[in-house]
Symmetry: C5
Subunit: 351 residues, 5 copies
């Protein structure tokens, strides 16, 4: 998540330099053809082209709206993970008691059980954020050189999940988890088995057990929603079509634009022959601007479609998860120094 | 669900080749009529046509938005089935205990009851996905030859429901189910009767029973939502009208476009008689592009309206259901080899 | 609910024949006036008219979106009735037991109580769908002759509610219900009183009673939502205005369109005097098409505004309710022959 | 809430007569200036003005959509009040029993407690609808003379809240309530204290008490949502801007429109000098129509922004509340004659 | 939150005076260049520029819609805090009883516990609103001089959180809270620990305890939602792009507008040489208006993006929180004089 008010003009210019270059080449080629090959006769009418342009602006507007919807929904889901995690931490602290045990359990043992449950919860978040960072076939944002340049590699990449899980689980639990395909799910099953054991000991009252199972149910829901956004892209047929429409518009544009500048040039030529003759070249910057707007409008939507890729515009799940961890462990009474620090920002970007 | 970033240009061209051909014929006929029969006088003004074009782009934009809404809602529902299935699996594992039985039930018997309930749940998902694949009178996407060519037949077609259910049910249960019209509903009734029996034995605590009935209630909700999208199409009057509007626009377009290219040709003819004379034919590719854009924009929405038909843009319910099955059975402790594999993709498409 | 992919062109033509006729008369009158009275000077500029046209397309687009929202919400509510009905049937079957009775109740008596509750639930659905079919002052779709022609009278019309309720209630209950204004509400109060009695007998465990009251609460919610859509139309001031705007546009259109065809005619006349002279009449079909599009776009929204009127585009509540009845009674173990059949479709329309 | 299909043309004409007059004066002044002062040279180009017009139509479209959203949300909230009220009535009737009392309470006493709770609920609705009718600084619809003329004063105005509450509360409760700022909140606190007392007597089982507290919680939610819409207007900065934009467009319009009619007049004058000379006056009705459309489109949104003011387009909360009262009291077994009648409609408007 | 119907024209003029000045300078420079340097030949065609204008209006419309969505969601969340706070107050009053204590607790002690819980709840709201007022890197509205001038500093600024919390907490609790990063979360953990202690004493029945924990869970949800909107801006890439597009349009506009006024001037010059010669300067006010509209449309969205900054268009969280405090303390039976007054409005603005 980029944290400044706006990207700078320079950043935008660098980010879009290849397209800008491409548009420059296209328009220079067309203008040169018109200028040197006397192609002034080749022109297409404006009205249908403007109509295409309007339709393209319209469908891309809708698509960007949907892309925003996906980011915002993803952020809501991770907001829900924040809330449910805090609730889980609170419930666990106040629902493990000696009121229903037949023989009281030592306070230290209770604290240790609370810590085990809380740490396993952190492990669940860790497994989930690693799963969200896996690369899908339709997630190609980072393939684009100008996206790669930002070098905003999320902290999950290059770290083995096993190493990230180890501090939060017993080696036995860890071994069990690594055997399953979906680690997150398996961790919640472990939580439930643990709660059941505590219930059978009487440490958790039977009704508190139901309540805590309800929290696990909520965590399954949040996990599943997050996986849904990860696993189901913005429908590719809409995305493909809008991409095509934009390029068709951008490629047809010179055929209407250049002749029109040519005509303006002819008018001018009556008074200022030199300027009039060269005027068609003024078309170049103007075309670049128009094409750049339409292309960037579409690209910006494409870039934001998949909110977990880890680019500058995505939901900062690593930061959120670490924030919860800090919260939970402070409220467990841990010392601030023993708790990991928040992940650092790179280029004003949270991960 | 198509899993690549975009469809290729070639795929799009093949998919739309009949319309492209039709538009080619239309425009060739009209241009020929203008060219050979001297119909240049027959023209209609641009402004009202552009207005229709804008209106058409607008309403199709809305319709595609709704189509996307249907796909996304369908995906959410099946995401809910994922979450509730995992919860059901977890609850069943930790809520069948000996704490409230008068005489303890052997652990093996408990495990077998857990397995019966979990397998019947998989049967429920199987019945539901078969029901979602039944053909409705308004689901005609697969009738279109270019859609058929993709040959993306979902795994439910060509398999008898009975065979698909058999591995998960006792023969008695299966016989009972097959007598009912709505198999899914009947399966949940069986689950409930089973839970009740276990409750009466004391294997399920009375309050856990209520909790589990709540999960069944949630499954009824999800099943009903999925059936709702299946049984209630995007309102046919809106769909029909938008289809008509698009064709009206596409068919009127030559009457404004060809004369305009004719006029440009006349202008050119003053300087280049030959090019000017032939220029009207330049209209042909341009018309095809504009008509293709409007038609494809509408077709793409139509194709995605019914998210369970099994086409390349639909919700991959077979894959999702199989994924849950794998998850549930791994967490039952089954060996990976004894669990069916995920359905294979065809043409990069999940089913 | 219309169940075909699209309405046929013929159906649309018949459905809109009066407007088409009206537009024909209007444009013939105007063209005749221009042609014979030499009114060519009377014209209005295109730009502001196009602006109105765009604005009209825009607001009608929004209105149709809202109309769709109403239909879709109505369908969701009745989908909710499906789900909650199945849940109610299941809960009733498995929550009436002898576990908490002081002296056991005969199984036959239990079955009879279950049947009474289930049948009263069907009575509730019946009362609700009758209430949904009552005519509201703003529901005038069926007044329009071309709508009436479809003759899609829902099964509730022409049947006395009392006769439809009688098979599902004791005569005492029925008499009590008929005294109340809102029959549906009174039926749910009866259900609750009945459940309470069973709870006091111990047939329903106290906590199951709370659960079942929760289901009744859900039914109140669904009933109330359905009544809300019935009783609160799409705000009349928006609807009125959009209707006016559309007509203003359609009536101003000839003043810009006819002179423009006249001008084109004059140009033509230089070369082909006869064709040029008559060309203004080409305006007639073109005007009809444009006016028809704008009018139909608005009419289609108006037609779908009230989803319970029983027209071809409405939510098929009779079919849904009957479907639930079949489901519930099959799962009560009733013989298929003793259960009423689904309501037949007329003109491919479900009611 | 207006209950007819559409407002009549006459009603609309009367309602907007001041603006119509104003537009007439404006355009007459401008045309006169052009005609008599020879200002034909003063004109502005159409394209940027059309652009403003499109933008204005667009933002007003969005605003009206939001206004509709507010009305619809308000209606949903009051629909929720209907549902929860019925539920509350039902729960109270079946959850006050003698099952858990140590010494049985007389049936008559039970009935009286049920009635007290139900009547206090009606008092809560009454207090809430009075609160919704209080005037906010941004609710100025009724200041406009043409709105006042409709004289649709809701029944809450001119009636003292105290008098309206008195029939439903003991004088002690009433005195207590009147001391609090927020009467509605205080009434729900009273309900809760009453329920607690009944619970302590054993008349309400402890778990039923929790259930009933849950219903009160739901009522707090609904009350709070209703107050939120009342207390938080559509953001004034958006509203202000859209209002300004509309007026800028309407005031610039003559500068483009009049010269254009002037030019058409000049053309005509070549053939019909008299008509051509006077033609510019044809601009007058045309301008009025265009300005009227844009102004009314904006005004209609403004009028519907605050759904509780009591105008013809608002949510009929008085009618809804009275409807619930009738429902509740009929189900208490009260005689129809002893129950107040529904509020009468004025000018086809429910309040 | 601004509480008048509309901002006055003067207020708008002052608020936007810098942009207005800037646009004046730009257009004067360009017109002067045209007028004095004879640059009339430098012009760009209208159609593509109009297309950009339409696209810009469109995307800004969407963005403003999203900004409104954020404000409205923020208001809903704080509405939820109102509702849940009232519920919490009510539950606490009626769920702390002597029914389940082994030896009765004095009524005064009960009241004191109720007061402690209620006051700590007020402390939670206070901590939350302070957190909402912290400045984020992307919240720069108040940097703009014309925004600062309004001088609408929310009451949280300039007050130390510690001082604001002190009246509601014991010094021990306060010290504990101040050690944690997230004060709000820590306060809810304190609430839960307190409830647990009361439950262990029997003052709170075990099931009421679960209910109250459920309310705390709801408060975590509301707090987390509020923090989500605070911590996650409207995606900066969309915002940046729209900002750029608007400026591109505004800066290109003179290149099309000035020459057009120049041409109109030339036409006029045939008849009125002087007026015609100077006419191009009429472009100045017209340009300022068009640019002002597009710029203000974008700025208004930008201003409203972050609903907790405390500007005139934000959600009045201080006022809401104080309102709840008054409500809660009146219902605790406190004297009106001992309760703090509502925060005063400045410039008709609630904070």
């Amino acid at each position: 998540m980029y944290t400044k008010k706006t990207y700078s003009t320079l950043q935008m210019a660098i980010w879009t330099r290849y397209e800008t270059l491409l548009f420059t080449i296209i328009i220079l080629a067309v203008v040169a053809a018109y200028y040197f090959l006397d192609l002034a006769w080749l022109k297409i009418p404006w009205t249908p082209l403007a109509l295409i342009g309007t339709a393209v602006a319209f469908v891309i507007g809708f698509q960007n709206n949907s892309a925003y919807g996906r980011i915002w929904e993803a952020r809501k889901i991770w907001g829900g993970i924040v809330n449910t995690s805090r609730t889980f931490g609170m419930f666990v602290q106040d629902m493990l008691t000696n009121e229903h045990t037949q023989k009281p359990v030592a306070d230290k043992v209770l604290q240790s059980e609370i810590k085990t449950l809380t740490y396993r919860h952190i492990a669940w978040m860790t497994a989930l954020r690693h799963a969200m960072r896996a690369l899908k076939p339709w997630e190609t944002t980072t393939n684009h050189r100008t996206n790669r340049e930002w070098d905003t590699k999320p902290p999950e990449l290059g770290v083995d999940l096993k190493d990230d899980l180890a501090p939060y689980l017993t080696s036995e639990d860890l071994a069990d988890i690594l055997k399953k395909d979906n680690k997150q799910t398996a961790l919640l099953y472990q939580q439930s088995h643990h709660l059941r054991k505590l219930k059978e000991q009487g440490v958790i009252w039977e009704f508190s057990f139901l309540e805590l199972e309800g929290v696990l149910q909520e965590l399954f829901t949040l996990q599943g929603k997050s996986e849904r956004i990860k696993n189901f892209p913005y429908p590719r047929h809409f995305a493909t079509l809008n991409h095509f429409f934009m390029w068709i518009f951008v490629l047809l544009l010179p055929l209407a634009l250049v002749p029109q500048f040519g005509e303006i040039g002819s008018e001018i030529a009556e008074k200022y022959p030199l300027i009039g003759n060269l005027f068609v070249w003024v078309c170049v910057p103007f075309y670049i601007i128009v094409a750049w707007i339409f292309h960037t409008m579409e690209r910006i939507g494409r870039t934001g479609e998949n909110p977990f890729e880890g680019t500058a515009n995505d939901v900062p799940i690593s930061t959120i998860a670490r924030g919860i961890e800090i919260d939970l462990r402070q409220n467990l009474g841990e010392d601030k120094d023993s708790i990991p620090k928040q992940f650092p920002m790179k280029h004003d970007t949270q991960f």
